[in-house]
Amino acid sequence: MAHYQPPAQGKASQLIDVIVLVVLTVGALFVPIWLRMAGASKSVTAPVANPTWESLNQNAAQAAKYEALGFTPESAHDLILSRFDYSFSIGALVTMIAVILLYYFLILRFSEVEYREVISEKFGE
């Protein structure tokens, strides 16, 4: 294989490449947060009026620990009763699996093409 001679990259072009990467990175990580679509938020589905340790399903040992940490039944109410919702749709699960498989298929295929060039130039045909 003929030796590939890469073009020289100017400083402005290098700077643009860095900016593109940083913008994409910050976007990928912060856009879900800004759109409030990020993370599993917990919620209290069955609040208890005038809570006591008993009504919050805490035995004597558990209540003693909360009190040692400075909590009262009122201040510990949301902390104790908040729960995640693990329900999901099959469609969303299939979409996630498809996106992951597409991603690995893409990079493995393109990598193989590039790798053959590397080996060919390094070791000769």
């Binding site: 030796h3 590939y4 890469p6 990259q9 400083k11 290098q14 700077l15 490449d17 860095v18 990467l21 994409l24 990175t25 910050v26 976007g27 990928a28 990580l29 912060f30 856009v31 879900p32 947060i33 679509m37 990020a38 993370g39 599993a40 399903n57 040992a61 558990q62 620990k65 940490l69 909590f71 949301d78 902390l79 908040s82 729960r83 995640f84 693990y86 999901f88 969303a92 699960l93 979409t95 996630m96 996106v99 992951i100 991603y103 690995y104 893409l106 990079i107 493995l108 393109f110 990598s111 093409v113 590039e114 790798y115 053959r116 060039e117 590397v118 080996i119 060919s120 130039e121 390094k122």
Partner: protein
């Protein structure tokens, strides 16, 4: 008879293109251990407890052990491959030689983001800890944590800039202190020394598995936090005196240390703190070992674990800066990123431009995102990297069978660890999907876009054959 003996005196430590110049080779196995455990041990001091919140205390223990199996596979596979790759970049350099350039570019980004996000999480925790100590010592009102977050990142970046030996010797000392603090807390609270305060049976009563079996799956997401970063030992490959011996030894000793520390941490914290408080790392227990010490009634333990938490966060952030900058530097040196980043400091022999460039990136996330989100971003990047490793070792063994390159370490039972690792990664993807599916899809969408950017634009600036820098024979099948 093997064609290439990478463990021989003449070849051990040979750098890119068969030369011995590059980063300074000054590190031993203890530094490798300190780098790996130092990055990870903070996972015992904060963050792992989100696993309790996702499924309860028992679920977190099961997740801890399944994640332990996952990381044992990672350590075994990594030790074999990296014992032959004496070059900065770790898994990035492995991918470049074994799978191909685009995979390497992706793996390099996984490493940079996993470590930079972990560094940001450490700085957030250090800021929180300073505010708690300020309150305990009489400060009134809410302390602004931001100056301390900035100070932590800037100080450690400066330390990394000045030299790797001082950086990792500093890590060795503070990591050993943080590990000893966990052991002392366990001995003091379990009844082995003095009166025990453990009450697992009473604290678990009525709350054994609050979400049922799906909670165990969900817990696996944050179960990774017990060990995330141990694979970073490979980043020191270009700065270790004997990579073929020191890297496997340091990495495997590191995962054994962490398995002990993780189990002890779960045992101590779950026996003292109620699971709802322990499992909420934002409104409940941000630093669970420190909170456990607070409930022990011993002022000595409170100070010990306070310093332990602070040292663990500093050691981790320190190691993260070290690793992220090596990966960024290695990509710059290969022109996968602008070549400006591939410079070595003329006096300190460190990748100083990469170190400085990543400081503001870490600050953006440390100052702008909540802790659980930052941790999730780090875990996601790590998870994508672990999914690459089974593919990597299968291709490594196929392209360079055991009789073609003599390794410093050969992991047993191949391909069982690879299959197990791939299966556990699949389960963990599902665990992340249970609640953080949007981030997962957003992050993979990002990697697809940057992969297309790399393949169709950036790769034109990369030398083809010159990327292959290891003194290996031609791979079989090419």
């Amino acid at each position: 008879m093997t064609e290439v003996d990478i463990t021989s005196k003449t070849m051990d430590g040979i750098g890119p293109h068969g030369v011995k110049v590059g980063l300074l080779r000054v590190l031993g196995p203890a530094h490798v251990w300190a780098l790996g455990v130092g990055i990870v041990l903070v996972g015992e001091y904060m963050g792992w407890n989100f696993a309790v919140g996702k499924g309860g205390a028992y679920a977190a223990l099961i997740a801890c052990w399944f994640a332990g199996i996952l990381y044992t596979c990672v350590a075994m596979i990594d030790s074999e491959v990296t014992s032959t790759v004496a070059s900065a970049g770790g898994q990035y350099t492995q991918a470049k030689h074994i799978v191909g350039p685009l995979m390497a570019f992706n793996v390099g980004l996984y490493l940079v983001f996993a470590y930079t996000m972990l560094e940001a999480a450490n700085a957030i925790t250090a800021g929180y800890l300073v505010s708690v100590v300020a309150t305990m010592t009489g400060h009134e009102g809410e302390l602004n944590q931001r100056p301390f977050i900035i100070l932590v990142i800037m100080f450690l970046a400066w330390l990394n800039y000045r030299g790797v030996l001082a950086t990792l010797t500093f890590n060795l000392v503070i990591t050993a202190f943080a590990f000893a603090a966990i052991l002392i807390l366990f001995l003091s609270t379990s009844g082995i020394i003095g009166a025990g305060i453990m009450d697992h049976a009473a604290l678990f009563e009525g709350h054994a598995l609050p979400y049922g079996w799906i909670g165990i799956l969900a817990s696996l997401h944050f179960g990774l936090w017990f060990y995330l970063g141990i694979e970073g030992t490979t980043q020191a490959a270009e700065e270790v005196r004997s990579p073929a011996r020191a890297l496997p030894f340091g990495t495997l000793a590191g995962i054994m240390t962490l398995l002990i520390a993780a189990t002890l941490t779960w045992y101590v914290c779950s026996g003292v703190l109620p699971w709802e408080f322990l499992g909420d790392g934002v409104n409940g227990s941000v630093a669970p070992l420190f909170d456990t010490a607070r409930l022990s009634g011993s002022a000595g333990l409170v100070w010990l674990l306070g310093f332990g938490t602070l040292f663990a966060t500093l050691a981790s952030a320190n190691g993260c800066i070290n690793d992220a900058s090596r990966a960024w530097f290695a990509m710059g040196r290969d022109k996968y990123l602008p070549g400006w980043f591939g410079a070595v400091h003329p006096k300190y022999r460190t990748p100083y431009r990469a170190i400085v460039f990543l400081v503001p990136i870490a600050l953006i996330f440390a100052l702008g995102a909540p802790l659980d989100q930052v941790i999730t971003f780090s875990i996601l990047s790590g998870l994508l990297g672990y999914t690459f490793m089974p593919l990597n070792i299968i291709l490594f063994r196929r392209k360079w069978p055991l009789n073609s390159i003599k390794r410093g370490y050969e992991h047993p039972f191949h391909p069982l660890p690879a299959i197990m690792l791939l299966s556990l990664c699949g389960v963990t993807f599902f665990a992340v999907f249970l609640g953080y599916g949007t981030q997962l899809v957003a992050m993979i969408g990002f990697y697809i876009v940057v992969s297309l950017w790399f393949h169709f634009w950036r790769y034109r600036f990369v030398n083809r054959g010159a990327q292959f820098t290891m003194p290996w024979p031609k791979p079989q099948g090419y």
